[in-house]
Amino acid sequence: MIRGFIYGLKKFWSEVFNGDLLILSFSIVLAVTSISSVGFLGDRLQASMQLQASSILGADLVLRSATEIDSEYLNIAASKDLRSAETITFLSMVIANGDNLLTSIKATTGSYPLRGELIITNFSGQRIQHSGSPPSGHIWIESKVSESLELTQSDELTIGKKTFKVDGIIEDYPDRNSSFVGFYPIAIANIEDVEAMGVIQTGSRVVYRNLFIGSNQNLNQFVDALGEIPASLRVQNADDAGDNLGEAIGNSTTFFNLASLFTIIIAVIAAMMAVRRYADRNLLHTSLMKVFGASKSFILGHQIMQLSLIVIFATVIGLMCGYALQFLLVETLQGILSADLPPPSYKPVILGFVTATFVVFGTASPYLKILGETQPIRILRNDFSIKLSNNLIIYSVAFFTMFSFLGILFQDIQLIAYIAITLILVTMALYLLGRLLIYILSFVTFSNGIGWKLGLKNIVQRGNESILQIIIFGLSLLFLIVLAETRTDLVDSWGETLDEDTPNYFLFNIQEYDLEPIDEYFKNQASIAPTFTPLIRGRLLSAKRPNSEETNFENLMEREANLTWQTSLPSSNKVVDGQWWDEDSAVSEVSVDKEIAVSMNLEIGDELNFSAGGKTFTASVTSFREIEWQSFSPNFFFILSPTLGKDLPNSYITSLKVGENKKIMSNFIERFPTITSVDLEAVINQAKGSIASASLAVQYIFLLTLVAGVLALIASIYSNRDQRTKETAIMHAIGASRLTIFKSAASEFFILGLLSASAAIIFATILSSVIFYQFLDLIYSPNLFILAISFFVAISFIFLAGIISIKGTIYASPMITLRDS
């Protein structure tokens, strides 16, 4: 075998530049390019999105509580090499110049924020360098506060018992959505001044947050070290941030994995075709070597060395191309990504090598066996055709090895199992379809001389070869169509969450008597009909399980609760457990946000005790809801049934989409001074930025898989090009005109394309529905536009590529072709 290795090494360069090894190398280069650029880009984008999510959180990990957090957690974090910061957020009146404004006060330590940027300017708009919190006795405020209270640089304002000097304007800060006070204008003070303000008393609505950053490993160790934590304490990480962004990250991660997986499978298909052509053309060489004394181990040594060198060189080139490609993509995305992308990890490099090894040796192993065992007698029989039908066991082993490898790689056994089963079923179905086509065509009477009939005859005569091409075309198209559908629906679903109609203003403190004038105002000024939702200030006192003596007072995350009552389920809500009440229900019921229910360990049927409007009452939990927070509509953790809610004192809340005309809102504030309006533009823009980058990344990664798919189709078309070329030359030599040959090839490729594309469309809708339902949590409805486009593009592509592949032969002298072959 050593001699075979040496021979393979010596011949590599001359053979690689002489033909078939080049084709195989090229397909592996492209496969590794696709896989590694998906890997590199996905790696960096995921890291970037994590960073953006962290920036929304202000940290990588947050401990959040409505009561003071034990300082012991900070000590544990320090022991795990985590950096930390603290914030305390509460609502308070800010008083200045004889006026006051309900403001969200955020008291911070010097290290705040740990992720994202806190931008402070002076009143002239120049940026101020700062350490994360103003010095004691100083304060930063948002421009809404300064405008409302007519404050300028170094003016004084009072919060509770403490007077502060205004040092700067808050231009931007990261953790906007971190608490219930997110809609009020904010002021940032030093955490040491909180006590002096004297505004936090027992029962006050306060959010305490401990922020942490560090390596993933250290963060995990920290979470492990926390052990049992009080029920009032919540652990939040980047995936939970801003609720909607977490979902975008989760789904885009699934998409990246899906795209990588499909790219690998498509690359395997391309490599299979390339290896087949390589083996076909190597059979003469191998048989000759056997005749001249080469042993089986020599042949294997020669092949293994050449394939190993292909793995090494193609992977290195592929990795370089992949890195360059993702670099270009990142440059394109740079304007959209707010955070600097972290460098990629080494994972894609390892992934590239391992994948190339599996692809090359997985697909080549059946041929290695055939070449190693080639009988030298083939030379005398001029028999250089490979029959793989006897090697189904090797293919089965290669298939299971490949999917075990993918299982380990993606660590998602369920997804891999679904894809493997789909692959087997679709292959079998395509095989049967191909057999059926040949069976039907075999009944057609062909008369020679008519081009298109010759094409149909060729399909029948090629038999298994035609079926193999239908399978390869069908599988490549299937995965491309599924990915195209997934990409489109995913991006659309994200886009829909923040479309043109997303509300950009919240209005609070609306009283019953305001409803009509406000409605009239917006109808006249902006042709908007606001929908008012009742807002009941309440308090959750306890939770109790029926038939249990135990009453839970501790496990309540938010004791202060904004309640509402509704007759029908709000459009941005979905009942995931239990049942929504009937319109005329007379039972005291409450519907709870699913996440809150989980954190409070609630079950359907539990009884919640509330106080509101001076009354205490009990409501039975009858449903859990999933809330689309990104709808920017008024949403509530607790919704009461009409029987309970309609008699409680309430104000109203609404959200509106007001156009560019800023005057509408400034006039509104003037006319309705008691109503609080909150501009959501900054929050929406932040979410839009994240979703835009996720969408673009998905588009680009899809393009890479598309390139791999096109390569697989080309490799498949070229896999039997030699045979077609020879047949074309013979037909030419015996007098067939170019037009006849063209018609013959055209009809053959058209039929193959038509059948493959039709089958791929049908199977794609089935696979897409499984993926949407099982992995993306989206409802699947076939995207007819994508399916139609895919169908026509696929047929056209197979048709044109097929014609191009034999174009040279049609116009070449048949003698040259026959002599060369």
Binding site: I6, G293, A294, K296, Q375, P376, I377, I379, L380, N382
Partner: protein, 222 residues
């Protein structure tokens, strides 16, 4: 009597076919003396090529034994037979079987590279010189005429100085002029490197040039 280089005893080759068991050669016995060229003649389908393949160790008989260069090759596995072929056997084929993507020199070097000969290039150039193609060593197979291709194939067959040279219809794909030249070359080579030529042909004129002619018909020696 000179030493026997090849001895064939009771060789029968049967294969399965759609029509049932097919006997290609039946009860063949022959022996070849060292240095004494022989030819196998017969019409197409008479079993000449099958017999040549069995005698050269490229295929195994259903029954019978072949002793080549003192070794009973019918008792050896494929790798052992390959060892003998690599060391002492040369082949020339009707279809030349040159590697189209290799130069003439590379084609001739092939057997030596397999055996790991450190001086493969020098010996290959010498062999090309012996067949009169020293100046065409860099040409690829597709750039050569039929006669030139067969000369390269002969150079490849003799490059390892084989003790026995099997030639299967070596002029079958050539015109009359080229055939004559190749025939002359084969017999001169036979003397030059002191090998033993075993020739399969249906060309009786060519066959008559050998010391002994064996005629096959329907798989049996006449």
């Amino acid at each position: 009597m000179k030493d026997l280089i090849l001895e064939v005893k009771n060789i029968t080759k049967e294969v399965n076919s759609p029509e049932g068991l097919l006997t290609i050669v039946k009860d063949i016995n022959l022996s070849v003396e060292q240095g004494k060229p022989i030819s196998l003649v017969g019409p197409s389908g008479s079993g000449k090529t099958t017999l040549l393949a069995i005698m050269a160790g490229l295929d195994l008989p259903t029954r019978g034994t072949v002793t080549l260069l003192g070794s009973e090759i019918t008792a050896l596995d494929e790798d052992k037979r390959a060892q003998i072929r690599g060391k002492d056997v040369g082949f020339v084929f009707q279809s030349f079987h040159l590697m189209p993507r290799l130069s003439a020199l590379d084609n001739v070097m092939l057997p030596l590279e397999i055996s790991g000969d450190p001086n493969a290039m020098g010996k290959a150039q010498e062999a090309l010189g012996q067949v009169g193609l020293a100046k065409r060593s860099k040409h690829f197979a597709t750039q050569l005429s039929g006669g030139e291709k067969q000369r390269v194939a002969i150079a490849r067959a003799i490059v390892n100085k084989p003790k026995i040279l099997f030639a299967d219809e070596p002029t079958g794909n050539l015109d009359k002029k080229s055939s004559g030249a190749i025939t002359d070359l084969l017999f001169s080579i036979n003397e030059l490197i002191n090998t033993t030529l075993v020739l399969v042909t249906h060309d009786l004129v060519l066959a008559e040039k050998c010391d002994e002619v064996f005629e096959l018909s329907d798989g049996c020696l006449l």
